[in-house]
Structure formats: structure tokens, C-alpha cells
Symmetry: C2
Subunit: 322 residues, 2 copies
């Protein structure tokens, strides 16, 4: 990351499939929810090492604990051991979250945590008669996004008490949750992301753009060019609005990626995003970029990083494993 001038590591550390974060407060979470409780977890020592390794290279580490969606791995615990579930009408849920994010705030030194809030599936809530009743009492009708907002609002208040700022995915903003003024809104949905950027910045929030840079969507050919050609400020808005765009993020989601293919899939495709984000709007020559990126790719290869080729080419020193 440092070789490519990336300076924030957004660590999407848990998801539906697995909860590898070993919590000191709730060790059962990874005990029940990780792929394997000993071989497939991030221990407190692992997490410290990652943060320190990053710090020495000028990289911030922002962890994401995404709720209330993408929590199948959390819920393994709830079904088995505790009366926890991401049930937004129970006080125990918020008691749990309070303790959990207290821990998170002490483990991760960065001023921000990422709270997720994307892609919430309401099936589970809809099947619960108590939740239905609660919806009626609150006057939410059939609008489960109102219930989601109710949950998120309480979560944000909890995290605020830990003295952390927060990032959230765009849905939380879209659903009209009341946000602290320093909230970072993370725009990810591909279609209409320019419109979304306009809306978020018009509301005065700082913003990070990821939508055009989902590196998990692979395709045949030089797809780095598509990432490179994006102009992140290409939305309708005032100069003041554009200043609220504090950066962009290359996302490599893990559904088809692990230690076997992470590095070549990430580099040098992410390098193209980095150059775009650090370059003036006017720097758009794709052939120039190809030459620079090819050279940079060979630099990585020479240092033992298996960055894949941009196109047919060769490096003075090829990768032979480290």
C-alpha cells in the first residue's frame, strides 16, 4: 500500500461468512462465528501487528464492523450461547453493542470506525411478530428502513460515547438517519453514484467514493484503464461541495479472494486508482499511464510483490516466488 501511496487501510474485518476478530470482551463471537476458532482468527496480537506495521508506513487502519446487515456470523453466537441477536427492539442488543464498541475504540487507535449499514435484508425482521408490533407502536408502518434507521441512530449514539468518529455506507445517509456533522459517507452503489455524490455533499457531509473502483469485478482485458479514467469530482455541485470529497477507495471484496490470489488481483489494478486519486484532473493520457504503471509494477515485482502484468510485457527481474 505504501508503495502506491495508499494511506488508509479500510479493514472489513468481519462479514456474513466469518467473524475472525477475536474480541476480548466477547470471545464467543469468533469462537462460534469464525471459519475456525484457532487457525482462522485475528488475535489481539495479530491486530496490533497489523496496526503497527501500517503505522510505520504512514497508513491508518479503520476497522469495519458492519451491522445490522452482513451479520450472519455474529448471529451464530446469538443462537447458541446468549440472548443476543441483532434485534433492534431489544435493550440487550444495545447493551452488547456498547460493550463491543468500547473494546473496539480501545483496540483501534484511529479516530474513526466504519459502522457499515449497507445491504440490509429485512426478511428476518419481517418474520418476527414482536418486531411487527414494535413497528406499529413506533408508527413505522411497513417501512423497515425506518426500523433500520432507528437501530443505526442508537448505534451512532453509542459509538459517539466512545469518542470516535464514524464512517457509514451510503444507505444510512439515504435512509435519512441523523448523522454527526463529521460523519464520512461512503458512496458505493455503481448506478447513479454521481447523483449520490451530489446529494451527500449538498447535505454537507465529507465523502469517500468507492463506486467505480470495485476491484472484485474482474473482466477480460485492461480493466485498469476503466478505473483510471474515472473523474471523481464529475458530479453537479459547488466548489465547496467538491472540497467535501476527501478521497476514494479501491475495494477488493473477498468472495473470490484469499491469500492465494490477493496480491496479483490487487496490484497493479489498485495502482491505477491510486494514480487517479493523486493526480490532477488534467492527467489523463492512458499511454503515459501505462508506461508509468508498467514500470511501477516491475518495481513491485522486483521487491517480491507478485503484481500481475497490465498487458503482455516483461520485467527485467521476473517474479519467482519469495
Amino acid at each position: 500500500m505504501a508503495m502506491n501511496k495508499f494511506n488508509v487501510f479500510h479493514w472489513h474485518i468481519v462479514d456474513d461468512q466469518s467473524f475472525p476478530y477475536l474480541s476480548r470482551t466477547f470471545p464467543q463471537l469468533s469462537q462460534q462465528g469464525s471459519y475456525h476458532p484457532y487457525t482462522h482468527v485475528y488475535t489481539p496480537a495479530d491486530v496490533k501487528m497489523v496496526i503497527e506495521f501500517a503505522r510505520l508506513r504512514g497508513i491508518r487502519v479503520i476497522p469495519e464492523f458492519d451491522t445490522p446487515g452482513h451479520t450472519q456470523s455474529w448471529e451464530k453466537l446469538s443462537h447458541k450461547k446468549m440472548n443476543l441477536t441483532l434485534n433492534p427492539i431489544l435493550n440487550t442488543t444495545y447493551d452488547f453493542m456498547k460493550q463491543f464498541f468500547m473494546e473496539v475504540s480501545s483496540v483501534f487507535p484511529d479516530a474513526y470506525v466504519h459502522l457499515g449499514g449497507d445491504e440490509v435484508d429485512f426478511t428476518c425482521w419481517k418474520s418476527n411478530p414482536d418486531i411487527k408490533k414494535f413497528m406499529d407502536q413506533q408508527g413505522f408502518g411497513q417501512d423497515y428502513s425506518k426500523l433500520e434507521s432507528f437501530y443505526i441512530q442508537k448505534l451512532l449514539d453509542i459509538v459517539t460515547t466512545t469518542k470516535k468518529g464514524y464512517m457509514i455506507w451510503q444507505e444510512v445517509f439515504d435512509n435519512g438517519v441523523k448523522l454527526k456533522p463529521d460523519t464520512v459517507v461512503h458512496v458505493w452503489i455503481g448506478g447513479g453514484s454521481n447523483e449520490e455524490m451530489g446529494k451527500v455533499t449538498a447535505a454537507g457531509y465529507t465523502t469517500i467514493l468507492s463506486a467505480p473502483w470495485y476491484l472484485d469485478y474482474i473482466s477480460y482485458g485492461q480493466d485498469w484503464q476503466r478505473y483510471y479514467k474515472v473523474e471523481p469530482l464529475n458530479f453537479n455541485g459547488t466548489e465547496a461541495q467538491k472540497k467535501l470529497v476527501i478521497g476514494g477507495e479501491a475495494c477488493l471484496w473477498g468472495e473470490y479472494v484469499d491469500g492465494t490470489n490477493l496480491t496479483p488481483r490487487l496490484w497493479p489494478r489498485a495502482s491505477a486508482v491510486a494514480e487517479r486519486l493523486w493526480s490532477a484532473k488534467e492527467v489523463t493520457d492512458i499511454n503515459d499511464a501505462f508506461n508509468r504503471l508498467s514500470m511501477h509494477r516491475c518495481r513491485m515485482v522486483e521487491r517480491g510483490i507478485p503484481a500481475e502484468p497490465l498487458f503482455s510485457s516483461y520485467c527485467p527481474r521476473e517474479y519467482k516466488g519469495v
Copy 2:
């Protein structure tokens, strides 16, 4: 390859971009045509090692020296040092080929060589007035595929004198070149490959199918399923015709691949092709296949082969580099 029951390594050893094969007879070919004449060549010792490594695992090695197309790297030599060009009207071309394939026949022990013959671009020939004159004399008119056939016919005769059988890409058959009865025709063009399989086998030639298994065409998602679902004998033809299909081949072309990403891109996607080719027509359950392939993928990972995940999952022992 052995772990996945692949038993022929089709070594596409030279191409437009580079001529890494170090020929004892014409060392200038790789001297002029390789990416780098010392660091990016296959020396005679390298080639021997590959062949022996494969032999010990029951794998045949068939080299491809593709002409008259895909020869930009050969022609670097012709322009600089010798009066060689892949000019089909010069006797020197055939003298060269004769010597070259004499060497090839002694270096590679397999009974077959692959002679290519695909994707011939006629631009160069069209620009040559002598060739135009020759075309008139032969009565070829404007049909350059006739000139191509003329060339290939002479090449096949040359290779026959070396006592080798040959494989060729489907275009050679399509263009009506007279082939030895034991020729293997390699079907690769995606659209209408079933029709092509019907035609080739109706003409009595043994055939290998590659068209559905071009692993360089990557896409988002579980594309192994697409490879798995192919039924290679799904063309109109008699039982006798179907018996002529002697196998299939997973092709991983190198335009976006080198040592940094070869292994995870190849495996386990090629494993899906292997299972299809070794399975009865009736074995089609994709969930069963997923379970088998996942387990097999972990077997590879455990042996230090960075085969990428088929989908979100984990192995008891993950890849951590070798």
C-alpha cells in the same frame, strides 16, 4: 497438472511478443526475438528439464511453433540478420523451416508437434508486389487463404519428413489444406464450435476441443461452472464421429498472465475442465462438483499450490506462500 489428471502439456512456446525458445540451429531467433536473450529464454537445459519433469508425471509435452501467423518475434531475425521472412514464395523460407523442424523433432520426443496456423493476418503479404505476382501465376486471385494453404501444405510435408505427426488449429482444416489422416485438428473458435466439431469429425479427423475452455477470458463470479457444464460431444454426428474426439484442452493464454498470477488463475478453474473431461456425460450435479472441487482445491493449497478459492470458503490449512 498431474494432480488434476491432465496428461498433455501443450506448450505454446513462442508467439508474436517473444521467441524464448533457444534454438541450437538458429540461436539468433531468441537472440533477436525474445524479451531478453539471457534472462527470458528457454535454454536447451530448461526444455529438457520441463520434458523430464512432465514425463515422470505421465505428461506428454507437445510444443507449438505457430506459423505463418503470430510470428512477429520470428521476423525480428529476418529483418536484421538473414534473408528469412515468412514469405511463402521463397525457397529459403522452406529451407529454414526444414532445418528448424529437424531440430524440433529431436528436442521434443513426443510423436506430435503443434504447427499452429491460426489467425493469419494477410496485411504483410498483400503489401508485397512479388507475392501479388505469385498469386496471379498460381491462379489464387485475391484469395490469400489459398496462399496460406500453399504455405501450410509445404510445411506439413516438411514436418512429415521428420517422422512427426502434427496438430493444427481449425483454420488449416477450414481452408481445405490436405492433411495426413492422423492429423489432430484443434477446434478453438467460440461461436459455432459444435458445427465445426461436426465438420471436422465428418471428414474423419481426430479432434481436440478447446473452444469452451479459454481460461484467459475471466469474469466475475463462479465461471468454473460454465466450463463444467459443457458437453463436448454435444454436436450432430454419428457414434463413429464422436469417437474421433480424443480430448479437450484448457487454454490459458498469456496476454495478462505471467509467473505472478499463473497458478491462481489456472487452478482450480482448469480442474473443472479436467473433471468434465474425465466424467461420464451423466455427471452434471453442480453442487456435488463444487464440494469435490473445493476439497481438491484445498488439497492443492496444502501442497503449496496457490489455487484460488471457487467461492467464499476456507481450507484447513491456508496458503501462506511456499
